[in-house]
């Protein structure tokens, strides 16, 4: 089976390379037949990569420990679900998985564009399969999943226990769907630049795929935070770790693009900027994959010692040259058709939103790459700690939130300052009222005050936007307010979906602020019957409990929880000992409410003395991060639903294309 998988991967390299050559030359020479063979080669590549993925899964399920990959990331007793996820547990498998997602996307693109975008498609295929060929090259020669060991060990080393968690089962696929999805807008941008067909159709297609990747990337980041929170046992969810940053950077540029593309749609402005954002997002996604898979930054060892490092750097360099070259080549065709009408306008809020987002992306990138840069410049690695990221990102986040509050009430083109002030009055008093209430409630933390007040401001402007829209519609249709609201939202899915996404963010902001500004912690070493407290909670150690199965052995401390005087159930923080690796894995236990999370960690147990060492965190409002994430996902899904307008535009575009071909 391993040989079969290997064979599939080499054949896939051939079909993938053929698709690149054939579609490019087919486009150059105008040979439709050749382009068709390229499209078939895309399907063939998909089938071959799929078979390779299946064979690797087969080997994992069949406990074929003579394969290095299986021996390293699986073991006999591993639960079935984690045998599936062991596919992306290591570098070789995850690169294969990356390729599988890419070629699946590419096949979908070919399938969906059999009649649409025909002039762009050959070069879209060239770009997508170019990337695919690179990744196939990696799994065929540098990071091979089907390498055999000289001997077959009795059992494998098992999947890292920290990855044996339901969130970890969906977090990487989600993140990868996002990372890989960014190749699609890039491919369309390259095709549009190369063919010079820079009309609406390329970016309408691009926008949809960007929203989808943005959605997956964002969901992946949130799931990663959740996983870190429940699994890693340090009480937090985000640490400005290079791997986390790597996924945040392209997400920020993507967010910028989703905003500025609206300006291009309406005013045909910022076209070069938008293309640059698409290109940047793709390059950052590749960089992110590289950072995640190679660990170059977290390791003290030199960048050049990583086996895939130089290859990735070369690929990035080539992509930069090709994309920037094409962009410069088309620069004369990309003149804006309009310019900014007024400084006080919705356009300018979008402009500043973009500058802030790209600035934020650059700051995170700078801090993340600093060790590599300093090593190149001074020969010694210098790292940048979390304070840098916090100090830079908090002001940027506040500025962005302010813009999100102003944006809905400011008019397109030219806003009259008087009208703006009028519209902003109620939200402004909401802000002042919110700040006053917080001060009265005893909140003295400046960051928390600013953050919560801005949150009330944005919630107020957004709620008013919904209300005004519904009122206006009510006047036109004469129906009830609720029906008008539904009708309004249904007719402008993107706009109101976008506002729902904003509200999701505000909830996340509230959660992040609460859990970082008002966190409390306590440590204690307890005998049976002893207790300790943190915030409003008191925890009393009752007894030790244990549980055993083939994969792991669990030992935990049972604690009775009291909220003030009221009993609030029991929590059992403990440790899992995974038999394959013989290592403990902390299993925290959390009592989660909308107000705060009580987060308990068992850090040690002395059986002779019967003493348990515990650490407790009280994380206020942390649940709102996940609730906000849910709201964000709903809003994003809603915004992605097809609008009536979109459908009409699509039909028109298809008609135009048929006409132009007939002419």
């Amino acid at each position: 089976m391993a040989d079969f998988g290997n064979l599939c991967l080499f054949l896939a390299l051939a079909t993938s390379a053929w698709a690149v050559v054939a579609s490019y030359n087919g486009w150059r020479a105008g040979l439709g037949e050749l382009v068709l063979t390229a499209e078939r080669a895309v399907y063939a590549t998909w089938a071959l990569v799929f078979l390779a993925v299946l064979s690797l899964e087969y080997c994992i399920f069949a406990d074929r420990f003579d394969l290095e990959y299986v021996a390293s990331y699986s073991n006999r007793a591993l639960p079935r679900i984690y045998k599936v996820t062991a596919l992306w547990g290591g570098q070789a498998g995850s690169l294969l998985f990356w390729e599988f997602i890419l070629i699946t996307y590419a096949s979908l693109i070919v399938l969906m564009n059999r009649r649409r975008n025909r002039s762009l498609l050959p070069l879209v295929v060239t770009t997508l399969l170019g990337v695919s060929t690179f990744f196939l090259g990696l799994v065929d020669f540098l990071a091979r999943p089907f390498v055999r060991l000289a001997f077959a060990p009795e059992d494998g080393n098992g999947l890292n226990p920290q990855l044996q968690n339901p969130f970890m089962a969906i977090h990487p696929p989600c993140l990868y769907l996002g990372y890989v999805g960014l190749t699609l807008p890039f491919a369309f941008a390259m095709a549009a630049l190369a063919t010079g067909r820079l009309d609406d159709s390329w970016f309408r297609t691009t926008r949809r795929w960007t929203i989808l990747s943005w959605f997956f990337l964002g969901t992946g980041i949130l799931l990663g935070g959740w996983w870190a929170y429940v699994e890693l046992g340090w009480g937090g969810y985000w640490a400005w770790d290079p791997v986390e940053n790597a996924s945040l950077i392209p997400w920020l540029t993507c967010t910028a693009f989703l905003h500025s593309v609206m300006i291009e749609e309406r005013k045909k402005m910022l076209r070069v900027w938008n293309l640059s954002l698409v290109i940047m997002s793709f390059l950052l996604a590749i960089l992110g994959t590289f950072i995640t898979r190679s660990g170059v930054i977290s390791s003290v060892h030199s960048f050049t010692k990583s086996n895939v490092g130089p290859v990735f750097a070369g690929f990035l360099g080539f992509s930069i040259l090709a994309s920037v070259g094409l962009l410069l080549h088309r620069l004369p065709d990309l003149k804006s058709e309009h310019r900014l009408d007024s400084f006080v306008s919705r356009e300018s809020t979008f402009l500043f939103n973009n500058l802030l987002l790209v600035g934020a992306a650059f700051a995170v990138l700078w801090g993340t790459l600093f060790p590599i840069l300093s090593e190149a410049a001074r020969g010694v690695k210098i790292t940048v700690g979390p304070p840098f990221f916090n100090e830079v990102m908090i002001p940027i986040a506040f500025a962005l939130v302010t813009l999100a509050g102003i944006c809905p009430v400011i008019a397109w083109r030219r806003a009259s300052p008087r009208k703006l002030l009028e519209k902003i009055q109620i939200p402004f008093w909401a802000l002042v009222g919110g700040a006053g209430a917080l001060l009265l409630a005893g909140v003295r933390d400046v960051y928390a005050l600013v953050s919560f007040s801005l949150a009330t401001f944005v919630i107020a402007t957004t709620a008013m936007e919904f209300y005004w829209g519904a009122r206006a519609r009510q006047r036109v249709t004469g129906r009830g307010l609720a029906a008008s609201l539904l009708g309004l939202v249904d007719r402008n899915k993107r706009r109101y979906g976008g506002f729902v996404v904003h509200l999701g963010f505000i909830l996340i902001l509230i959660g992040v602020t609460g859990s970082s500004a008002f966190k409390q912690e306590a440590t204690a070493s307890l005998k049976r019957g002893d207790g300790f407290s943190v915030g409003r909670y008191r925890m009393v150690f009752q007894d030790m409990v244990s549980d055993d199965n083939a994969n792991r052995e669990f030992m935990g401390a049972r604690l009775a929880i009291f909220d003030g005087d009221r009993p609030a159930g029991t929590l059992v923080p403990g440790q899992n000992f995974y038999k394959a690796g013989q290592n403990p894995s902390t299993e925290v236990d959390i009592r989660s409410t909308l107000r705060d999370d009580l987060y308990l960690i068992l850090t040690g147990f002395d059986p002779q003395e019967g003493r348990a060492t515990l650490k407790a965190y009280l994380n206020p409002l942390v649940n709102w991060i996940w609730i906000g994430g849910g709201v964000l996902i709903l809003g994003a899904w809603f915004a992605m639903l097809p609008d009536i307008r979109d459908r009409r535009r699509d039909a028109e575009a298809r008609l135009r294309e048929v006409e132009s071909r007939a002419a």
């Binding site: 098992g158 890292n160 920290q162 990855l163 986390e244 310019r339 300018s348 010694v380 100090e391 040690g604």
Partner: protein
Amino acid sequence: MAQPISRKVVITVGLLVLGFAVLFSVGLRGSLVYYLTVSEFMDPARKTDLGDNFRVNGIVQPGSIQRAQGAPGARFILTDGARQLPVVYRKEVPDTFVDGSEAVVEGALGADGTFAAVTLLAKCPSKYEAQNRQTNNYRKPAGQGRPGTPTDAGSSSR
């Protein structure tokens, strides 16, 4: 009318860029730390122009871990094969911190020559070294750790 608008935009963009620059320099000050191997750190000629804090990378010398009793934390020796650095850490150690794991400590050297770490990151021993192949002993003895931790988890465990 076009002229004054673009000037306003240019000024605002300029202010934003200036703001970024200020944020950057303020943020970078105090968060830059040298990242060194044990030998580099113990080299008397090393640079100290970024303050007393350092990040040091090495392997936890097998058998050197002494856990504190009744309190979190541990004392251990960090080595890179050539030199040894005694380290003390007083918070909860991560699960990945075992004999032979790769560790990164951040903190400052105390007066007694012990490195007082305020953060400790640990990564499991990297996947089977040459001796495992030779001795056919693929499964490591207890406490010797698990295979190469995927970077996803390894670098974010703390």
